[in-house]
Symmetry: C2
Subunit: 144 residues, 2 copies
């Protein structure tokens, strides 16, 4: 029922708090956690448009930063005896989350409720709201 | 972290499925469940407007039906060794849910994602979406 959790993270405070709940839920049967970070391609485009740096170099730099952060999450979950798989994808966050949910055969999603870009999200509707609306599986939304 | 759960139910299939998750989460530390049914006052108004029955009699009849349903939920949760409190309130569902959340000092909410009135909810946004947006506590949204 809660065997395989998808944990999408943007490394924000809300995402970090969601991690505490995953550890707590371990006692309710979580065995494996897929940790997913989505590099928002719209942000890469925005940076690219306003800089002299090559597109591939921007992606490489963002990916390297994300790799460091996601590796720290992996270590933290493994320390708790969980099986962990990490994935860094590029695209529109909520779409990638739903794609990975299908692909990995996820039982439930645990997600923070606010990303880093709060004003933008207030206007566009947050990633977590879109995930709650579209996901076929239970979603635990954790507030900051 | 998950000691006292608020479980708002409209007795729909999604609500029933949410109940299974509460039982599962017991192993993660749930001790008490507040089961809440909100009688939607807009529905009472609609019935009143189109019937010859007195307002108080409509409320009494709806409340009696809800009492039967909520007592069954209470028995089911108690059988699992949980402390249960039931509440039947009257008002706008998402507002009552948030009010009871504050009043009871809830740690997290477990809620079904679709009420019975799907077309209405597609237009107005579902109760669970409003709860996810406004609640200060973690919300587990369970799909039908």
């Amino acid at each position: 029922m809660l065997e395989k959790i998808l944990y999408p993270t943007d490394f924000s405070d809300a995402s970090k708090k969601a991690l505490d709940y995953i550890k707590q839920l371990k006692q309710a049967g979580i065995k494996e956690v897929v940790v997913l970070h989505v590099i928002d391609e719209r942000e890469i485009d925005a940076i690219f448009q306003h800089s002299a740096v090559r597109f591939e170099d921007i992606v490489r730099s963002i990916r390297a930063d994300a790799k460091k952060d996601i590796d720290a999450v992996e270590r933290e979950l493994k320390k708790d005896g969980l099986t962990v798989k990490v994935r860094i994808e590029r695209g529109i966050p909520f779409r990638e989350i739903l794609r990975v949910e299908e692909e990995e055969g996820i039982s439930a999603i645990v997600i923070g409720s606010h990303g880093k870009s709060n004003i933008k999200e207030m206007l566009l509707g947050s990633v977590s709201e879109a995930v709650v609306r579209k996901s076929k599986k239970p979603v635990l939304v954790v507030k900051r």
